[in-house]
């Protein structure tokens, strides 16, 4: 305590001395404490994107369907007929590591506000999650808490949680990843933006009262590593109030419908400081806020506390003086507090008043645009391998049946119904495809078309090769959509990394961003926004670098969608794509050999594009009776999943599909660029015409009560479907019970 108290204030607030100097220069004087607190947050990694801004510019953000790219609260994509989809993903890793239930709940709350800030009605949530080994009680506690938190908030809001994923790796033991994505539907003529306009217009603060919770919460937590002192730094945890947010949502959309809003913005990290200044920045105006009008939950709050409080369930609205009463009436109808707290000015300054007294005066541009941007010298991590592992690196296991069962039981592969049954995934009655498939498909009421949604992250692959890993992850997300019959059109992304001030982490970040950019360009899925989460480390150990992709696809006719399950006895099983499975970075490698090593195969993006086009065509033409991509657990797990969900076995022979090669690696290894389709015999010829010279191969037939994979005249895998089913279906529940 005594040692730290000698440090200068700015340092206690997390600013470097040259940053402090820059602030003095921008202001032309020394900042007072309120100003310093506001700057420290606005220039934090979380709000200021200090270590990522320059690299993020490499991402492709343009596209015919993109109505709003990065820079607003969410991206917006044209889905025709005057409608659009808003989407955004965000991390709540650090708060969730401290208090999993509230951390996840407020994560949902935050991302949902970003969506309705755009004027969109949220229609789906997705929650990609990463934890350490579930053998450990702490990890089970975290997973259980996070899932309950997502459920509690999302279910109460009436937003179906339709997708997400769960990955379990030791690398996340000290630092779980809780990313949350929200997707909204909006009529294009009702899109709102967070752009303060019109000097003289009024600023309304709507929703919850302001308390001390999360003072510096998201921003401080997300901008520093965890260590022993985390306990002390622990800010007051934010507690979510989904009921308040539901009223907030309805009131905001009603004000939107009534044309009462000039602009709308949620209060997220850094609270009123960032929301007011960012709104002013977007509109090129100034803003005055009187904090004495802010309704408080606690007595004796300091001005700076009010300015940076991260109390949840609050929105800022800009209204014209004429619209004020009507807007307040809508809020009152929904039993919401709404208070005029300031106005738009033409000063270009963010000024804070306490009654008559001005207590802060900062140029908006200095706060929002002038945060320092750092480039760190990238250092290639020593663990990166130049070459894949030689084929004989591991001894092939004798019993491949056992391998298959073990893989089906892996938390990364097994059924996730324990999770998604805790989520109301059906509310709003749009699900054309329920959780458990490759992607979620939602119909758009009143139209024939729909949207498909997916999230994908694979830190393990990115750890072995961040560029290839990122390319693979974008490709996989797109492949999942294509297997549902959807045309991928746009992504949002959440970049989860360690401490970017370290050269090796910066290298990972840079490579991953560039890899992501390449894949997005090739697959024509521009980036509509996202989030960067750095400092995901505990005790100096970083998580796997993990760009999580949220992707949206368009479905022309929701009656024509792809599903993963086998349908009818006798259907032909077709392997599509030419990639050759490898052990490097696979689930097989991790579960059976206990290692994560080697170099993952790269995705051939041009082939990937054609593969997906073919899969979609086969679905749209009504030929493909099932479609499922080969991913974790390789071909064997892909087939097993289709068999289990469909309740029908399969007999497959892969002799000669890949010349040479070890059966175990071909059966369980992984490589991007493979899809399994099933179809009736009579459609083979037509499918051949669609495929042209693209590699396709008949490998077997649906049928029976067993899963059989043959190679070179020998049954390599031969197990009863019932056993595979049990292993896959009960694994997570069993694990969560600590058994």
């Amino acid at each position: 305590m005594s040692a730290t108290s000698q440090k200068p204030e700015y340092e206690l607030l997390g600013l470097k001395s040259h940053e402090y100097d820059a602030i003095c220069e921008k202001l032309g004087r020394k900042p007072n404490y309120v100003e310093l607190a506001v700057f420290s947050l606005m220039w934090s990694e979380h709000c200021g994107y200090k270590h990522s801004r320059k690299l993020l510019r490499k991402l492709p953000t343009q596209g015919e369907l993109i109505l709003q790219g990065p820079g607003e609260n969410a991206g917006i994509i044209d889905i025709g007929a005057g409608q659009a989809i808003a989407m955004k993903i965000e991390s709540h890793n650090h708060p969730s590591a401290i208090e999993p239930f509230q951390g996840a709940a407020t994560g949902i709350g935050g991302i949902v506000r970003d969506i309705f800030a755009m004027g969109a009605r949220p229609i789906a949530n997705l929650d990609p999650l990463h934890f350490g080994s579930l053998q450990k009680a702490r990890q089970r506690f975290l997973l259980d808490g996070v899932v309950s938190g997502v459920a509690s908030y999302g279910n109460c809001m009436g937003i179906p949680t339709v997708g997400g994923e769960i990955h379990v790796e030791d690398a996340y033991e000290g630092n779980c990843l809780v990313n949350v994505m929200c997707v909204g539907l909006v009529d294009q003529d009702k899109i709102l933006r967070a752009r303060a306009e019109g000097p003289g217009n009024l600023v309304l603060l709507i929703g919850s009262t302001t308390g001390r919770d999360g003072i510096g919460g998201a921003s401080v937590l997300a901008s520093a590593e965890f260590d022993e002192t985390a306990e002390e730094k622990r800010p007051t945890v934010q507690v979510g109030d989904p009921f308040m947010e539901k009223k907030l949502l309805e009131a905001c959309l009603e004000m939107r419908d009534d044309g009462l809003l000039v602009a709308l913005q949620d209060l997220g990290a850094a609270g009123i400081s960032s929301s007011a200044s960012e709104m002013a920045s977007r509109g090129g105006v100034g803003i005055d806020i009187d904090i004495s009008r802010v309704p408080l939950r606690e007595a004796g709050m300091e001005p700076f506390e009010i300015m940076i409080s991260e109390s949840q369930e609050r929105m800022l609205a800009i209204v014209t003086p004429e619209m004020k009463d009507a807007a307040l009436a809508v809020c009152e109808k929904w039993d919401l507090d709404a208070t005029e707290v300031g106005q738009v000015t033409d000063s270009g300054h963010f000024r804070v008043f306490q009654g008559r007294e001005m207590i802060a005066d900062m140029p908006v541009a200095a706060l929002v645009d002038d945060a320092p941007a750092y480039v760190v010298e990238a250092v290639r991590p020593a663990h990166l391998a130049a070459e894949p592992l030689p084929e004989d690196h591991y001894e092939a296991p004798a019993d491949l049946n056992g391998v298959l069962t073990d893989l089906l039981r892996s938390p990364n592969i097994c059924s996730k119904h324990w999770v998604y049954q805790q989520y109301d995934h059906m509310v709003q009655t749009n699900n054309a495809l329920w959780p458990g498939a490759d992607a979620a498909v939602l119909r758009i009421k009143g139209r024939q078309s729909g949207v498909a949604l997916v999230t994908d992250g694979n830190g393990r692959r990115c750890f072995l090769d961040p560029r290839r890993g990122a390319r693979a992850v974008v490709a996989e997300a797109a492949r999942n959509l294509s297997c549902a019959g959807a045309r991928p059109v746009a992504i949002t992304n959440c970049l989860n990394f360690g401490n970017p001030e370290k050269g090796e982490i910066y290298y990972q970040f840079q490579e991953a961003v560039e890899g992501m950019a390449e894949a997005c360009l090739a697959l024509e899925t521009p980036v509509t926004g996202g989030n960067v989460s750095f400092y995901n480390e505990s005790f100096g150990q970083a998580i796997y670098p993990n760009p999580v992709i949220g992707m949206m696809g368009i479905i022309e006719d929701v009656r024509l969608i792809g599903t993963p399950h086998f349908r009818d006895e006798g259907d032909v099983i077709m392997l599509v794509g030419g990639a050759r499975p490898a052990v490097d970075g696979s689930e097989y490698q991790k579960i059976i050999f206990g290692e994560v090593a080697g170099r993952i195969p790269d995705v051939d993006l041009e082939r990937e594009r054609r593969l997906q086009l073919l899969a979609r065509e086969a679905i749209l033409e009504g030929i493909a009776k099932s479609a499922h991509d080969v991913s974790d657990g390789g071909l064997a797990c892909c087939l097993a999943e289709s068999a289990i969900i469909g309740g029908k076995g399969a007999e497959v022979d892969i002799s000669g599909v890949w010349p040479g090669g070890r059966p175990d690696i071909l059966i369980f290894g992984e490589a991007p660029g493979l899809v399994v389709l099933t179809m009736e015999e009579k459609n083979l010829e037509y499918f051949g015409q669609l495929a042209l010279d693209f590699p396709t191969r008949i490998i077997g037939r649906v049928g029976g009560r067993r899963m059989v994979i043959r190679m070179n005249g020998e049954d390599r895998v031969n197990i009863p479907l019932s056993g595979a089913d049990r292993a896959w279906r009960t694994a997570l529940e069993t694990m969560m019970e600590g058994r």
């Binding site: 401290i98 208090e99 509230q102 919850s208 308390g211 001390r212 919770d213 622990r234 007051t236 945890v237 934010q238 507690v239 979510g240 109030d241 989904p242 009921f243 308040m244 939950r297 606690e298 109390s311 949840q312 039993d335």
Partner: protein, 101 residues
């Protein structure tokens, strides 16, 4: 202790014998930490006037747990541990307890 009661329960004696072990009764009171938002309390407070109850304020909703545990010197220490580890969430909740003599 109670001024009024919803049912007509007898005055309690905390001590019992259960499977040959002397047990005592404990009461645990869990409340949201000061400064932590209490959405339940807030919502109840806001709806009370409409139900005809005016002037009620500072409603905080927590948990009340009753249990029996082995009697002995360590009972209080055990219960304290139990509250810390399982019954309460010390990050957002405070607790107090009472061992019924």
């Amino acid at each position: 202790m109670p001024e009024s009661s919803g049912d007509g329960r007898e005055p309690e004696t905390g001590r019992h014998e259960r499977n040959g072990v002397l047990t005592m009764k404990a009461k645990v009171f869990i409340t949201p930490k000061k400064g932590i938002l209490d959405p339940q309390g807030l919502t109840i407070e806001r709806s009370l006037p409409a139900l005809g109850f005016e002037g009620v304020s500072n409603v905080r909703v927590g948990k009340y747990i009753e249990l029996e545990l082995p009697d002995g010197e360590k009972a209080a220490a055990e219960l304290d541990q139990m509250c810390h580890k399982l019954l309460a969430n010390p990050i957002i909740e405070d607790f107090e307890f009472e061992l019924v003599p």
